[in-house]
Symmetry: C2
DNA sequence: TTCGATTTGTTCGTATGTATT
DNA sequence: TAATACATACGAACAAATCGA
């Protein structure tokens, strides 16, 4: 089964190599000329396919050097998936503290968002994010256990870098897209306590689901943010 | 002065024609072949420039028909600049009710966001947005008076379609990009009354600034949204 | 430091396919 | 049906950046 256009087919095959782990994150994929030979298409068709994958944050081009599989370094994550800024519009990098890690079963909402059966095994992590030392966000993360076999608490706690970087490094799972639903809510007692706010104080609730190639959901989380001094930045139109 | 690359120069000249009003919204621009002849470049270079302008929501391509200047119809606006959804993830189109219209002077924040001197004349509009008949958002809009000469209240109130559609239709000003800062806030007495909420109830505060070609600010507004049943959707990564 | 090989970036031109009018 | 316009694909040449010898 081939795609409707040639460059779509090339794109599909590149993503295939990526999700099989044939080309790993941070590495260069073969040159455009080599890909053209391999797929028996012109170099322009390869460029078309690669350009779309660059626009989708899957690949990164470096003139004179090569085309690389996007690596979820902290900087890269920050530039693509993190848009919480301070009063001056600057991104502040949070430091994570894992509050709890345990195995659980998917409730109805989680199951729907992750494409699982209700009651399917998930890993559930609560984490606190500090900015400038102060607690600013609390996360309640859920990931399908099936996607992360043999993951245990010490490994998760001992990771370096971002959660998505860890997914990529350790399990070969690359997050390429994230959808977030934002709402204002009154802080519950627990959320208020974690963030140093009174219960009932307004907090920003963010319900996020992260996807890998082929729109397969990888993780979902509910985050509460103290937006007294922070703001969520959203740019519409240009990209 | 020409741009670094040819297609960037072509893009610049297309935007030039657009902002001069040479090609108007909704109209087809000359064919790619005609543009190639006019600018003395290959058709591929024109396509490159046009593709970027399509990605930036300035132009719209229709195979077999032509390339058109994006028109701010309600549907188009909804698809590009409006991302507030109901519980089922559906976009609901709001109906506007103008609460007040008056001339004012820019405060410090407004001046900074619109690139004006503090105290510069602005038009200030308060509006209520209803979804399904119920008040769901209140807007406090400010636009530089200099950009909208001779605009008066009856004209503004009597407009049809969206505010940005009106800008385009009446003043040739096309909004191509919008930046929003989102925060959770406790509703003031006034905001609460307008939205049918108790004072202190959590509301989503959105501070938006809209830009036209060349990143010139056109309008800024502060919006409060009742997100008890609505959510603000944000997609990161793919676009 | 210099040089040359490699790789992506830009531009050109042409041919053919597909959708619209 | 015919003309028009965008979409896809091919191939070539040179520019610019990178990187190792």
């Amino acid at each position: 089964m081939s795609s409707r256009t040639l460059h779509a087919e090339v794109k599909r095959r590149i993503i295939g190599s990526l999700s099989e782990g044939r080309w790993k994150h941070g590495e260069a994929i073969p040159s455009e000329e080599a890909l053209a030979r391999r797929y028996k298409v012109s170099i322009g068709t390869v460029r078309h396919a690669v350009s779309e994958l660059v626009a989708e944050n899957v690949l990164v081009r470096r003139q004179g050097s090569g085309t690389y599989v996007a690596s979820h370094t902290r900087d890269y994550m920050l530039s693509v998936f993190f848009w919480i800024v301070d009063e001056k519009g600057r991104k502040e990098l949070p430091r994570v503290e894992v509050l709890s890690y345990r195995r659980a079963r998917a409730d109805a909402g989680t199951a729907a968002r992750l494409g699982l059966q209700r009651g399917a095994p998930v890993i559930r992590v609560r984490a606190l994010q500090r900015i400038g030392g102060r607690p600013m966000m609390v996360d309640d993360i859920r990931m399908p256990q099936a996607l992360f076999p043999a993951l245990d608490e010490p490994t998760f706690r001992g990771r370096e870098g971002t959660v998505y970087g860890f997914f990529q490094e350790r399990f070969g799972i690359t997050v390429v897209r994230v959808v977030e639903r934002l709402q204002a809510r009154a802080a519950s007692a627990a959320v208020g306590a974690a963030l140093g706010l009174a219960a009932g104080a307004p907090v920003l609730r963010i319900e996020r689901t992260a996807y890998t190639y082929g729109d397969a959901p990888v993780e979902t989380r509910v985050r509460y943010v103290n937006t007294a001094r922070l703001a969520y930045l959203s740019q519409l139109g240009r990209h």
